[in-house]
Amino acid sequence: MRFWSLFLVFVFLMFLSGCSSQSSFNVFNPYTGSDALVVSLMPSAPPEITYSGIPYKIGFKLTNYGALDIHNAYIVVGTDDFGGAKISNPSASFDLKGKKSTHFFRGETTYKFFDAVAPKLTSSQQVTNILLTYLVCYPYETKSQISLCIDTNPYNPSSGGCRFSPSVDVAPAGGPVNVVNVKESPVPLSSDTIKLRFVITVKNLGNGLVLSYDNYKSLCDGSVDYKNLGKVKVSASLSGSPLECYPSSISLMPSSANPETAVFTCYSSPMKMRSSFTSLLTVDLKYGYFLSGSKKLQVYKLS
């Protein structure tokens, strides 16, 4: 019988863990996290040390931690231009399914390898270092679904079936660019008609650079127009009904005054006043995303 006692203890602990503040028994939700494409160099490709004129591999692990799929992502790799250093076929494209498609806690992972040759050192050089640089560009979409208590009565805001809050902070929804806050307020149009106004704050929570969805590859091929930097197309709907949003495209440009944050406003269609109710605000953010990185290799002379 002591086994059953232990079993009961386990069940108790198991339920207790569900009360933990840091984790929960949430049902799987792909719309979480602030990552989408995560790029990392393989541990030994490239190696920390290579030798003059010797071929080596550069490997990338590319994983989609975002909610939605990535299509036509583009990676390009460069190295120092001296001593015959080169990378064969330095670019590649790839697709990666997101968490929503894989029904797992991360999306697809792929690996890309590039063949490179270390530079030949001059006779008097014992060692030097070379720089590997890589650029990654991909188009992406963040879909934030925010459950809001909608209050249509500006004169009696506390009435209704849910508790109204004028400002709601929003958790990341499975992409680097996210809605971080929604401010809701009814705008009276007549004595019994209102429009709902949503002031939506968007922020780049990732470590990359945002650029327009249509020109997502331009930073990787060097053809970028700075006017396309930071551009995010926005749209929103309330329980499936499209909202009118101004502006339809926002700019997330990093600066000291504006740390990659932008605000836009959406209005619902006119509606009759009624008691408060819960509804789902869906915000779509479409953008291109740019990641870059580098790694130094030490190149030793063969002697």
Binding site: N26, V38, Q126, T133, G206, Y226, L229, M253, G293, K295
Partner: protein, 658 residues
């Protein structure tokens, strides 16, 4: 009603409990209560109890599996640890297959959770760590694994050079102060030159001095040859003095982590008074190379990134230090380079960017300096153009992107600190398919470098007014071989010089100079038919006659043990006399008399008697002048025999040069 089959499950664990279950059921334990509950529930099903029991069991198993999945999802290592411990205990103790299966499920589930906290390529595929940036993720991987892949074939090389190379790389990245590119890791040092024999030197003395050359890690440059040199500089120039320098050349690899003495011997010293500085040094040609990575971007990309991050955006985008200097230097010169604009725009206008590079003397503390630049080349990749302009950028284009230092460029003086250049640079063609072009600019400079060390020494001026024979260092007899063989001589070991003379010869203050003077005088000015031992003994005999080797009766005004007559200064009263040279001059004078003044010696018993008489009375001496004639020559010859006995005695065989 109780299901017997279920009750019997317990009876397997503890047979005594079967009766308890049936007879004392009112107070079951917790586990048994659940079991009873389940069993009682099943019992109500009647004839379908087995089926229901099985279904119930599997529903229970699946339910617990689902529960374990939830635990897994919670991704809480503490819960997983507790789950693992409990499951292991249950699995170990239970004999019930149902419970064991269940515990196994929990074990695997908890292991999966715990494993996710360990970084490995396999497990990483099943767990996600929030890695915010690509480069941070790379660092994480590197640190987590902690082991870098090295090619063992080169491990030894890497290890031996690691410290130096790391220092070099650090410096290359701009992390070391100017002039400390290699710091104490590589270098050489010359000690202060010191006289080898005498406490002081007189004009006309042999000038022998030495210093030591110390090297540190110079085996990095095995092909570089170092040439030592010696010199003397004074108030009146010593120009034209030649030195025998030993060794003639030193390979840096031989010098590495060791000490090599550099010995200098003056072949000929002018007999003029000088205050002097003796100097030892080394010269060598060395090539220092350096290269600078440029970051050149397509203008659109550069402008775009600049608009986002500001001018200094490279650290944000690529973690590159915009102000990095050249990252490879070696040898006595740190060849630093920098570009004024980083990154460079592909369409950079002329004069919009400058290449600044400087030769920093990093062995200045060892008194080193660049004497001459033999050549200096700048190599630019195709697409970059240098804009030479004197005087800041005295280079001429040689083609294929190579620019050489203008041949008319001359150093005004040795470079002991910094020599810098300032050249415009522009991008004529963006020569890369990658939007970020990172070519290298190579600079190679070959120069003559000198390290030296000096010491002031007093060289005293002798009174030369009455010096009968000047020493010019030349001798047709210098290479004559003298026999040291005493076997043909009649040795009388009982007839030796007085002990006070022997003491002067062997252990007095001037013993070393006396010995060298006698040996060199005998070697250079030996008389025909005299063995070396005989010649040495003859010179010592003259000294006995003249002074008693430092004692009366001969005049020895300066008390150096050398007769003033031999020294050529009858009035010597100060310390300008020179023991060594006095004896050599005596030998020279004797020989001159023997060869030139005694060609006809019929008036004398022998040619030696003639020479000794002429030495005593002068070259024009009358053979019939009997003053001291019958004293001087016999005394010298008697003393000579005593010295032969001494030098040829068993304890001293081999003469002075033993």
């Amino acid at each position: 009603m109780v299901d017997e089959s279920n009750v019997n499950l317990n009876s397997q664990e503890d047979p005594n409990r079967e009766g308890d279950t049936q007879e004392t059921a009112p107070k079951p334990s917790g586990g048994r209560a659940i079991k009873n509950f389940i069993v009682s529930g099943l019992g109500k099903v009647g004839s379908h109890s087995e089926l229901i029991k099985t279904v119930f069991k599997w529903v229970f198993v699946v339910g617990m599996f689902v529960a374990s999945i939830f635990v897994f999802l919670s991704h809480n290592w503490s819960v997983a640890s507790i789950l693992l411990i409990i499951s292991l205990i249950v699995f170990k103790l239970s004999k019930n297959s149902f419970l064991r299966t269940l515990s196994l499920i929990f074990i695997f589930a908890s292991l999966a959770i715990l494993a996710s906290y360990i970084s490995s390529p396999v497990i990483d595929a099943f767990s996600h760590k929030n890695t915010p940036t690509p480069w941070q993720d790379t660092t994480h991987d590197k640190l987590a694994r902690g082991v870098h892949t090295y090619n063992t074939k080169f491990a030894k090389l890497v290890k031996s050079s690691r410290e130096y190379i790391q220092h070099q790389v650090d410096c290359a990245e701009g992390n070391c102060p100017m002039g400390e590119s290699e710091g104490p890791q590589v270098g050489m040092m010359l000690s202060t030159p010191q006289l080898m024999y005498a406490h002081h030197v007189l004009v006309g003395d042999p000038l022998d001095f030495s210093s030591t050359l110390t090297g540190i890690n110079l085996d990095l440059y095995p092909d570089v040859v170092v040439y030592p040199f010696c010199s003397v500089e004074g108030e009146t120039s010593f120009e034209g003095v030649n030195f025998n320098v030993s060794p003639k050349k030193i390979y840096m690899s031989d010098l590495s982590n060791g000490v090599v003495p550099i010995m200098c011997n003056a072949v000929a010293i002018p007999s003029t008074y000088l205050m002097n500085t003796i100097e030892t040094g080394v010269r060598f040609n060395f090539t220092t190379t350096s290269d600078l990575r440029l970051v050149i971007m397509k203008s659109t990309l550069r402008n775009a990134l600049e608009s986002v991050y500001g001018t200094n955006f490279l650290p944000f985008v690529f973690e590159i230090n915009s102000s990095q200097v050249a990252y490879y230097n070696d040898g006595p010169i740190n060849l630093g380079m920098r570009i004024s604009q980083m990154p460079l725009a592909a369409r950079a206008k002329e004069n919009s960017a400058f290449l600044i590079f400087a030769l920093n003397n990093q062995w200045y503390s060892a008194n080193g300096a660049i004497l001459k630049i033999n050549y200096m080349n700048i190599s630019l990749p195709d697409g970059l153009v240098l804009i030479p302009k004197k005087p800041y950028c005295p280079f001429v284009e040689k083609g294929n992107g190579v620019y050489s230092l203008d041949p008319s460029f001359k150093l005004n003086s040795p470079v002991s600190s910094v020599l810098s250049f300032f050249c415009g640079i522009k991008v004529s063609k963006f020569n890369s398919q990658f939007p970020v072009w990172t070519p290298h600019i190579d600079v190679s400079v070959n120069y003559e470098y000198e390290l030296n060390s000096s010491n002031d020494i007093p060289i005293y001026k002798p009174d030369e007014s009455n010096r009968p024979y000047s020493y010019d260092g030349s001798s047709s007899f210098a290479d004559q071989n003298f026999s040291k063989d005493c076997s043909s001589l009649n040795i009388d070991p009982n007839n030796l010089p007085p002990s006070k003379y022997v003491k002067q010869f062997t252990s007095s203050l001037y013993a070393q100079q006396i010995q060298r003077g006698v040996e060199d005088g005998a070697s250079k000015y030996g008389l025909p038919g005299f063995s070396k031992v005989q010649m040495e003994a003859l010179l010592l005999g003259i000294m006995v006659m003249e002074t008693g080797v430092g004692s009366n009766p001969a005049a020895d005004g300066d008390g150096d043990g050398i007769p003033d007559h031999i020294a050529g200064c009858t009035g010597c009263s100060s310390g300008y006399n020179n023991v060594y040279k006095d004896i050599v001059n005596a030998a020279k004078a004797l020989k001159w008399n023997y060869e030139d003044n005694c060609k006809n010696y019929s008036a004398y018993p022998s040619r030696l008697d003639c020479a000794l008489h002429a030495y005593n009375k002068g070259p024009k001496a009358d053979p019939n002048d009997k003053t001291n004639r019958d004293i001087y020559r016999p005394t010298v010859k008697a003393a000579m025999n005593q010295w032969i006995n001494y030098l040829c005695s068993s304890a001293n065989s081999g003469g002075v040069s033993k």
